[in-house]
């Protein structure tokens, strides 16, 4: 479905140089869709990335039909969605590895997806006297997600760390095919339970943009409130785990208590601790009455004050800070090349935040303060998350204070129109992209998710191997706190 929007000047100039390769240009708010032959995809994508200063955000195939690549155009606050048409019957996909180091991980997953068993990257052998491998199998220590991690070590020093994902593949994307958009929402929410709102938001926004549905203002603000409540408990969870990994169980318990209070706020005001079932395409499922909004605001303020007290205490505990300093450093070049997102990227200097760069819901009005640092160590990741908690507290208070009147959801068509669209949101872990294609009968034809953790997993190995010892591993692990569920889907 083409739009009639005028192409921004800079983008126009850049596209002019590849006009012979790009065929059809269509537009939706925040997304420019370019169709081209799959073979032309690598050079066009490289040219666009270079000219607009972005990096590959997502890459997913529809086997036998298209190869999709997504690049951000930050100045224009838009995504460029390149849709490469594959020759019918071909199984080969054009390689973007040469221009985008981040493309290698997509290729690996694609190659592994024929079977359903987990496959690690083909790893070069590590020789040397005394070097052995320390496996952290899929079944890891207390409440850790299932991922295979192999550490090449010579006793204390981590020489190399290789994660193997794929153990948790549930076939979510394939299961969604053939379902109504409303039913598939239940799957989208459960891509990752602790980022349910972010995934549901991205999914709903993709559907809304596909059908041209405008979300009413009240719903948009409520969506901001929901997303920030999720960010609050998510970051508190991460920080609590980080403090626990540094051995400070008292601090971890205090932060855990605070997180539990936020989960209880979610339950009492929105009906579910993890905010499942709060979003629907078109708006939010149930409205928030005025008294509830007021009580939520008071509670958040009070707990925000408690958070600030804990934050000061943690900063003043050298036993914790010493362990985070210079641990698990991700340097800026690696972060940029591998397209790091979220707090991990921002702690290494990659200043990207979807809420600010590609505003959705009511973020155009409530612009969040986005912190970033350059150190790239665990301490920087803590600082980023702490600053984001402060920003979220402010945002929630502001949003609840200025909640506009009106309906909490818009009307949506009974049968969803056919088409495809991108949806995005900033999860606590970072930039999340969903792509949906609805078929002729109004059912989902194809569905792809590119979660934030997917982008960051490749940084985990280099961060851990950089002169760290085995006892630093839990610190690095918790400072990344990568989710395996939405990587394996």
């Amino acid at each position: 479905m083409s739009g009639t929007r005028k192409i921004p000047e800079r983008l126009d100039k850049v596209l002019a140089q590849v006009k012979n390769l790009v065929q059809v240009i269509s537009h939706r708010t925040g997304e420019w869709q370019l169709d081209l032959e799959a073979g032309a995809l690598p050079p066009v994508a490289a040219h666009l990335a270079e000219s607009l200063g972005g990096n590959l955000a997502a890459l997913f195939p529809e086997p036998g039909q298209h190869l999709h690549a997504v690049l951000p155009a930050v100045e224009e606050k838009a995504y460029l969605h390149l849709r490469g048409r594959l020759a019918p019957g071909t199984r080969d996909l054009p390689a973007l590895d040469r221009h985008f180091p981040a493309a290698a991980r997509y290729r690996r997953i694609l190659e592994a997806r024929h079977g359903l068993a987990p496959v690690g990257p083909s790893v070069s052998r590590l020789e040397g006297s005394g070097v052995f491998q320390f496996p952290l199998g899929p079944v890891r220590g207390d409440y850790n997600e299932a991922a295979g991690i192999v550490i090449d070590t010579v006793g204390e020093h981590i020489l190399r760390l290789t994660p193997t994902l794929g153990y948790k593949h549930r076939g979510l994307e394939d299961r969604a095919a053939g379902l109504t958009p409303k039913a598939a929402l239940l799957l989208a929410e459960r891509a990752a339970g602790t980022q349910s709102v972010a995934h549901a938001l991205a999914y709903c926004q993709a559907l809304e943009r596909l059908a041209g549905v405008t979300v009413p203002p009240r719903a948009a603000v409520l969506r901001v409130v929901l997303a920030e409540m999720e960010r609050l408990y998510g970051h508190l969870l991460d920080i609590s785990l980080m403090v626990g990994a540094a051995g400070h169980t008292v601090g971890a318990a205090q932060l855990d208590q605070l997180k539990e209070l936020f989960l209880r706020l979610n339950l009492s005001h929105f009906g579910h601790r993890y905010l499942f079932g709060t979003l629907v395409p078109g708006g939010v499922r149930t409205d928030l009455p005025r008294e509830a909004a007021a009580s939520l605001r008071t509670a958040v303020t009070r707990q925000g004050a408690e958070w600030r007290r804990l934050f000061t205490m943690v900063l003043g505990t050298p036993g914790i800070i010493d362990r985070w300093e210079t641990t698990g450093i991700v340097d800026y070049t690696d972060a940029w090349d591998l397209a790091a997102v979220g707090p991990v990227g921002r702690a290494s200097g990659v200043d990207r935040d979807v809420r600010r760069d590609h505003p959705y819901a009511a973020y155009g009005e409530f612009v969040p303060a986005v912190p970033h640092f350059r150190d790239g160590d665990a301490l920087a990741r803590f600082r980023v998350r702490a600053a984001e908690i402060d920003a979220s507290l402010a945002l929630v208070g502001e949003a609840l204070a200025r909640l506009p009147q009106g309906p909490a959801r818009a009307d949506v068509p009974a049968v969803w129109p056919a088409g495809e669209a991108l949806g995005w949101s900033e999860a606590p872990q970072g930039e999340t992209l969903h792509w949906v294609r609805v078929g002729e009968e109004g059912k989902i034809a194809a569905y792809r998710i590119r979660s934030a953790s997917f982008a960051n997993w490749d940084l985990f190995g280099p961060a851990a191997a950089d002169g760290n010892i085995l006892t630093d591993f839990p610190l690095i692990d918790t400072s990344f706190n990568l989710c395996c569920a939405d990587c394996d889907r």
């Binding site: 409440y143 948790k168 979510l172 459960r190 539990e260």
Partner: protein, 245 residues
Amino acid sequence: MFYDWVFKGLRKGVVSTAYPYNEQELPNYRGLPAVGPGSCPDGCRECEQACLPGAVQVRDATPVIDTALCLFCGECQSVCPRGRITLTNAFETAITSRQTTAAKVVPRDGRLFAKSLYIRHVDAACCGACLRETASLNNPFYDVSRLGIFFTASPRHADVLLVTGPVSWGMRDPLREAYEAMPGPKFVVAAGACAAGGGPFGQPATVGGVDVVMPVDVYIPGCPPHPLALIDGLRLLGGRARKEV
């Protein structure tokens, strides 16, 4: 700074709940669906078609709900033309058999673990919510160590295998290995709708619920089950009645 932490804890005091030794209510919780009196319209299968995991089936003009599969999403409640299905606040959802939901049979040797129960949690392919609720059991509010329930990283020390998430093909063998590594007597608890019955994922993309791979002693439905519901399920294993000490 050391004193700060000490005094903070002391000032906060004890925040642990006394559950299961007292009654608890969760007023806003979307809990067990209840089927009200009346009858369904002829040939109406709205609830059955609306249910993604297939938990609701209409038999003899009455919806029958397999609580193990139920996601507590409320779709059936919103589509029922006669409003027969309502989601209550009941969170004590633990059952020991999917066939006869009323049965709450204490497993054999259960009394051995009345005072001390060691749990090995395995994440089959959980989305993360059930896992976090399980982890919440150790926070100061729920604090299961006061009940003698502990988490261990080694299956050799464990009495209970607590599984969250549907069993993916990749995790089928590791899950089996974890079970084999546990010395008897041992129990299996499937926590959450996905573990209990496969959830909305089902076959062939996943193997299914945990009971496809190994016998399950306690199912704790929910998506995710509230930590109190988890405690309710675990106390079933030890054969503890609510008011016992």
